[in-house]
């Protein structure tokens, strides 16, 4: 049997257009051997959930720099759970204040990457923590 290839949805919920991080990550994921779908800016949580289901991804990476992460990130995690896709790993990144991290994790985000995380460290985390469910 051939090996499963990890599929990742990289999404930018919310209205901000600060996509430098997302664009850099998309390339980094490709170079790490993952299949990446990037949504571009300005997606609603509902669009992200629908896309994750249609694309059968193993992980959804969220990037939002407008300060609305406390609403948007949990909305994506909840949407996936409600659609029977709670097994999809959801992670988030950006300028996330320390105190927001525990509630985000309680809402279903598996990891929060804050400024300073290297590309390699993120890729290694994915390789170690994201396995496609059979």
């Amino acid at each position: 049997m051939a090996k499963r290839r990890i599929r990742i949805l990289l999404a930018k919920p919310g209205l901000d257009g600060h996509d430098r991080g997302a664009r850099v990550l998309a390339r980094s994921f490709r170079d790490a051997g993952f299949e990446v779908i990037y949504t571009g800016c300005h997606q609603t949580p509902e669009q992200i959930v629908a896309t994750a289901l249609q694309e059968d991804v193993d992980m959804v990476g969220l990037s939002c720099l407008s300060g609305a992460h406390n609403y948007l990130y949990p909305a994506v995690a909840k949407g996936l759970q409600e659609n029977g896709a709670g097994d999809i790993v959801v992670v988030g990144g950006g300028i996330i204040p320390e105190k927001d991290i525990p509630p985000l994790k309680a809402a279903g985000l598996k990891e929060i990457f804050t400024p300073g995380a290297t590309l390699d460290s993120i890729n290694e985390w994915i390789a170690a923590n994201v396995t496609p469910k059979e």
């Binding site: 051939a2 998309a26 490709r30 299949e35 990446v36 629908a50 249609q54 694309e55």
Partner: protein, 328 residues
């Protein structure tokens, strides 16, 4: 995920996407799910969209989805992007143009990477079409990679093939000469406001005419050349894509009226059988040679000139053909 086939038949989107993925990942036993759905296939109209990178295929697909949704037709899209030959990773960037349809239950977009396949599509496209088909999609659009000019594989899977050309790319006519001419059922000159669109239109018309002179009209269908406005003029763009939509449907009706559908179906089925045999017979053999280390030894022997690739192939054929494929 269990009972994939049944779940797909029940309309489960994620199961459908997973089934396509099992085909991509070459998971054993995937054929069981295909067995379950195969009887229900053959109802959808399959549209192939091909053309060079930057020709605007995804944007055109996006607008075509909108045009079909206006008529309440459901649409499935298989969008193929290239796999990086160096890392095995892929940026699947087509669907970004189609995200406005993300929440529309009448639209299902699935991105695929080529995973090294030649010919501009993924090996999973054939079965991916079946999956979309049993989900009840009226129209299935397959968007090819668009990297090379040899993207003729699509002809084996689509009823209607659209070749998208765009002025100012320089090598359009070369592409036509290289084989795209023969596979087009409809030509689209995209970004028709650009400089050179008129010239490209004339040249394409000439090519169509020449090919008619050479081969005669293909059972009565005259390949049309349509101009599509730039997406930067959204209203005009939408209108010209609606004209394209109607032309696509006209072509499908033409195939039906002239009993040409079965011909295309035979071609598609032959391609699928070939693909299936490749997956069931050849792939396991290659994998076994790889994992057992025999491939490496064979390479060494060839380099030492102890033998040659053709003799080795003969040897392998002798050995494996006696056994049931995939076991050993």
């Amino acid at each position: 995920m269990k009972e994939l086939g049944k779940r797909v038949l029940a309309g489960d989107i994620r199961a459908a996407s997973r089934l396509i993925r099992n085909l991509e990942d070459q998971i054993t036993d995937t054929y069981i799910a295909i067995q379950e759905i195969f009887k229900e296939t053959g109802k959808s109209h399959v549209i192939g969209i091909t053309g060079a990178p930057g020709a605007g295929k995804s944007t055109l697909t996006d607008e075509l989805i909108a045009a079909y949704r206006k008529q309440d037709k459901t649409v499935g899209v298989l969008a193929v992007d290239p796999t990086s030959p160096f890392t095995g990773g892929a940026l699947l960037g087509d669907r970004i143009r189609m995200l406005r349809h993300a929440e529309d239950p009448g639209v299902f977009v699935r991105s695929l990477a080529t995973r090294g396949a030649m010919g501009g599509i993924s090996k999973a496209v054939g079965e991916g079409i079946h999956v979309m088909d049993v989900l009840g999609k009226d129209k299935i659009i397959v968007e090819t990679v668009g990297v090379g000019q040899q993207e003729v594989e699509i002809i084996n899977h689509a009823h209607t093939v659209i070749v998208v050309l765009v002025p100012g790319m320089g090598d359009e006519i070369q592409a036509l000469k290289a084989g795209l001419m023969e596979i087009a059922d409809i030509f689209v000159i995209n970004k028709a406001d650009r400089e050179g669109a008129g010239k490209l239109y004339k040249e394409t018309m000439n090519m169509v005419q020449m090919s008619r002179d050479k081969y005669g009209v293909s059972k009565g269908w005259v390949t049309p050349v349509l101009l599509v406005e730039s997406v930067l003029e959204p209203h005009k763009f939408a209108e010209s894509v609606e004209v394209l939509r109607d032309k696509i449907d006209e072509h499908y009706q033409f195939l039906i009226d002239n009993n040409l559908i079965s011909e295309r179906m035979r071609r598609k089925t032959a391609a699928e059988i070939t693909e299936a045999i490749w997956g069931s017979v050849l792939a396991p053999v290659l994998e076994q040679l790889e994992t057992s280390g025999e491939m490496k030894r064979m390479i060494d022997r060839c380099l030492l000139k102890e033998t040659d690739p053709y003799s080795l192939a003969e040897e392998i054929a002798q050995r494996f053909m006696k056994q049931r494929p995939g076991t050993s």
